[in-house]
């Protein structure tokens, strides 16, 4: 009996001694945003018993991938609400996965959006437009949560910019909506500020600025891009040059102030 008590004390004592280390690891995990949604009854109901067990066994990634792949069948069958719910569950399971937020909003704004717009059950064309706009808004709200979860990468800022640029810019009474382009520019600007952002991201920022009605700011941004070191910065310089020339004409910049003055007659 004495030895049993001794062993129990040993195991308990070791557990208590290791508690600060354990808490430190757990705090670090929280700080670094590891893991995802807790396994709750609601989550278990959403994913089913078998996947919940797999989740408890530590296979969060596999469960999320499986659900994601499974979600394609909802897309094919045009079961939009199921697909939407599936996307939400997957994103909750792995909120640090750029892919799920990115493709999730793409499904909502592009695929489901078009699906409801062209739904033969719509009584009027306006109903289809209204439903499409609702899905655009759902996509925006969804992606905003993605940006909150992954603020340290350029990807979702660019995706949000692209959503405003391509879809939300048409969702006003008299499209194109300047406000949407201004928001797009804001997000493209943030995305372009990341050093690992691809070269095309930097070009979208002045383009959105121009559509927002800030042609002068766009021109200054194109010029800033042009003055970057051509030998070290990878960029499609011919496109930058073309845009600068175009804006110099549009803004009627005096020849002596132009980067690319027209050839003398």
């Amino acid at each position: 009996m004495r030895s049993k008590i001794l062993i129990a004390i040993l195991l308990l004592g070791a557990g208590l001694v290791l508690l600060p280390l354990e808490n430190s690891v757990r705090a670090e995990r929280t700080r670094l945003k590891y893991g995802g949604a807790r396994v709750t009854i609601q989550l278990r109901e959403a994913i089913g018993q078998n996947l919940a067990i797999a989740l408890l066994a530590g296979m969060r990634g596999i469960v999320a991938d499986f659900l994601w792949i499974n979600g394609h069948s909802y897309w094919e069958k045009k079961e939009w609400l199921r697909q939407y719910r599936n996307i939400e569950v997957v994103a909750a399971l792995q909120p640090q996965a750029v892919m799920f937020w990115d493709l999730g909003q793409w499904h909502m704004a592009w695929n489901i959006g078009y699906g409801v717009l062209s739904d033969p059950k719509n009584r009027t064309k306006a109903e289809g437009v209204k439903r499409e706009r609702e899905w655009h808004e759902k996509a925006r709200e969804f992606l905003a949560r993605g940006v909150e979860n992954i603020p340290n990468r350029y990807d979702l800022y660019f995706t949000m910019g692209w959503l405003y640029y391509e879809k939300l810019s048409k969702d006003c009474d008299q499209p194109p909506c300047h406000e949407a382009f201004c928001k797009a520019a804001e997000y493209f600007g943030k995305a372009a500020s990341f050093p690992d952002a691809p070269q095309f991201v930097a070009r979208f920022y002045p383009r959105a600025l121009e559509k927002c009605g800030q042609a002068r700011a766009a021109y200054e941004e194109w010029k800033r891009l042009w003055f970057l070191d051509h030998s070290t910065v990878a960029q499609s310089w011919n496109i930058v040059e073309r845009e600068i020339r175009q804006l110099e004409d549009e803004l009627q910049i005096p020849n002596d102030q132009r980067l690319f003055p027209p050839p003398l007659p």
């Binding site: 040993l10 893991g35 990634g61």
Partner: protein, 302 residues
């Protein structure tokens, strides 16, 4: 004169024999040899290797290169984690009971071998078994990644064949991204933490098998402790403020802390300092549990 005074107990006679790492190593290697001959081990390993191989086919149901690589890595690391845990439980659960049942333990302990050496040898053998199986699974994982990488590069090269120079450059950038994603050194961290987790499971199973002779009990209890350990993080969040609950929870190791594979796959920052802390936690827990197993085993009537 009482019997205990005339007949020295095994532990009393073995007190004169010093501890030998060599004997531990011999017992460990023998344990490994026996274990690899078991059909259950071979079956589990083959299942693991087949599922890792199948990851290529699972990935084809997803869009895009990065998504396909994510599916492959998630599947392979998940399979490695599950199979190594199962091997740790099944491979260790029958070690002591089978020695007792076959009476081979008598011939071993009749020799100048301390019980602690015997137990440590068994533990060492199980760890070797784990390392062996994980190396085999990691090699298969590497092969799967390599095959996928080659097929993606081939596909991209064919798509951009005869395109403009700018398009070719873009293709080269994509190929570089694929190579970086495949050759992710951080995957080592995931495998390492999985190994330490499995070693911890080995120690728990060894502890259970020191007082139980039932194989079903020896398999079921460590599995339940493992599942409880996976839920410990949630339990701490719920009852963290209650001291009594925390004291009870402190007995069960938090297996959730070892789950780094998902975050590594997602490209999250997983610093070595964090991995080191997890490894120290796992090893410290395992050492304490092996000591507890020794305390039980040294007093056990065989």
């Amino acid at each position: 004169m009482t019997e205990s005074a005339t007949v020295p107990t095994p532990s009393a006679s073995h007190d004169r024999v010093g501890f030998s790492l060599n004997r531990v190593s011999v017992i460990g290697v023998n344990t490994l040899t026996e274990a690899v001959r078991q059909k259950v081990f071979i079956f589990l390993l083959i299942i693991g290797l087949v599922f890792i191989g199948l990851a290529i086919f699972f990935s084809q149901y997803s869009l895009g290169e990065q998504e396909q690589l994510k599916v492959i890595k998630d599947t392979c690391l998940g399979v490695i984690s599950v199979i190594s845990t199962l091997i740790a439980i099944v491979g260790t659960a029958q070690l002591l009971p089978s020695e007792v049942e076959n009476r081979t333990i008598y011939t071993i302990l009749a020799k100048p071998v301390r019980r602690f050496e015997f137990l440590l040898g068994k533990f060492y053998g199980s760890v070797l078994l784990l390392v062996l199986s994980m190396v085999a699974m990691c090699l298969m994982f590497g092969a799967v990644l390599w095959i996928k990488e080659q097929s993606m590069i081939r596909e991209l090269s064919q798509t951009y064949l005869g395109e403009t120079q700018a398009a070719q450059e873009e293709a080269n950038q994509q190929i570089q991204q694929i190579k970086i994603a495949v050759l992710d050194v951080n995957l080592v961290k995931a495998v390492l933490t999985d190994l330490v987790k499995a070693i911890l499971v080995v120690s728990i199973t060894l502890l259970v098998s020191t007082f139980s002779t039932s194989l079903v009990f020896n398999v079921a209890v460590p599995f339940m402790i493992y599942m409880a350990g996976m839920l410990r993080g949630t339990a701490v969040e719920m009852w963290g403020s209650h001291r009594l609950a925390m004291a009870v929870l402190a007995i069960v190791p938090d297996f959730g802390l070892f789950s780094l594979a998902d975050d590594i796959n997602l490209g999250n920052l997983v610093p070595w300092a964090h991995v080191d802390e997890v490894i120290v936690y796992g090893v410290a827990r395992a050492v304490v549990i092996v000591v507890a197993a020794h305390l039980i085993f040294s007093r056990r009537e065989i």
